[in-house]
Subunit: 250 residues, 2 copies
């Protein structure tokens, strides 16, 4: 049977989602450890988004196959009991065998939170990037508009040896507020390695007046990472939701 | 000149508000260190509430005297710059020389947050007590009603050698919800050492059915700490606000 879980985590103390060699301190690694203990069999957990070290998730999804009959509620309770307190399974359901959390995903939503106005925001400090200056949000919106649609985002990909396509579709970049902070929500069919953090870093350089909004167009056309802005810090980034087609909706 | 500050802090990694012997890791100690560096003089910071180790504050207040002329905005910026990221000064104002944050306080508001329904609540996990069972909130409200008014709260005081009066007035104990959690808000003229945590622990024993609501009356009348319930964990407690008379309002 194939199970899909929705997971929330505070990424602060993890080396990201994906298991890497002998670095066991990853979200995927923790999930697999607990599932293997529960099921007495090797379990591979496939995540929808490979969040970086320090990136958080409100609605990451993952799936795994288990031999035998398991009650979904029982799996969820077991996971929540034995996972650390900074990882929580918020939903679980049985999905068709062909479902794969990453390959079946239609849309992903990420949110980047920027602390402006000098507020340290003690209780949210690990989930935002405290930005030291003033920002021209209108200019940032103008810059972001160039990214909407289907483009080659090679300039926003930190993986220099990326052999696969760097073409992606961004359907929306929305600017909002949360308790006085600036929140940018990115919706698209998928994102390249560090793509949202480089987009955000570039938007911050536009917002601070270091770049003109129109440069965003030139950066996209240049297809060169060196043209884009700095990579914004991991801690401001949150994977909010992963959406699937109707056939996989609960 | 006398200055009053409003302070927010995540108490998780501190030994509480008050400086104690050679334990420097307290909120008061951190504030004094930074103020002394700024002013080049010894500064004593008086807090309104002596929060325990692990207790948080959304609106603690404190005051201190400084020789010479200082711009309040400048003091605030200096403090926020050099204080750790889990302590923030959210307001500052000049107050009359006789103002004392604790002695002048008329009312204090504390909030205790109880995680119910099994949610781990990853992003708020340090600011709530994850309660493992079901709670009868109506019974808790009945028990709490016995505490409203002026009573001798000796049974709810952890300091066995308390020589001063243990009489206090609680004006309100309100039950609310926050993202599915149970939140109890206590308002009164002052609270004894561990008083809110013992009240909460006793209310939890009522909510779980281990005690009847009417026992609250007997516990108060018995004036004996051993009669009351366990002390609820520090991390669920937050000092929300300290209120002063009109003469000290900004």
């Amino acid at each position: 049977m194939n199970y899909r879980i929705t997971i929330q985590y505070d990424g602060s103390r993890y080396n990201g989602w994906q298991k890497q060699g002998n670095t066991s301190n990853t979200i995927q690694g923790r999930l697999e450890e607990v599932l293997e203990r529960m099921a007495g069999q090797a379990v591979e957990v496939h995540g929808a988004g490979r969040t970086d070290a320090g990136v958080h998730a409100l609605g990451q999804t993952a799936n795994f196959h288990l031999q035998g009959e398991w009650d979904p509620g029982e799996i969820r309770r077991y996971l929540n009991r034995y996972l650390p307190d900074d990882i929580e399974v918020t939903a679980i359901d049985r999905v068709p065998p062909r479902f794969h959390s990453r390959l079946s995903a239609r849309e992903k939503v990420y949110r980047y939170r920027i602390g402006t106005g000098g507020r340290k925001a003690v209780f949210e400090r690990k989930y935002r990037y405290l930005y030291p200056g003033e920002l021209d949000v209108e200019a940032m919106k103008q810059g972001a508009a160039f990214c909407i649609g289907t483009h080659d985002f090679k300039s926003f990909c930190a993986n220099r040896h990326m052999k696969k396509s760097t073409v992606r579709t961004i359907t929306e970049i929305a600017f909002g507020q949360k308790e006085g902070d600036l929140v940018i929500t990115f919706t698209g069919d998928g994102f390249l390695y560090h793509m949202i953090r480089i987009l955000t870093g570039t938007l911050l350089e536009i917002g601070s007046g270091q770049r003109r909004p129109e440069e965003m167009k030139e950066i996209l056309e240049g297809k060169n990472r060196a043209l884009a802005g700095r990579t914004a810090p991991a801690q401001g980034l949150m994977l909010v939701a992963v959406r699937y087609g109707d056939e996989y909706e609960v």
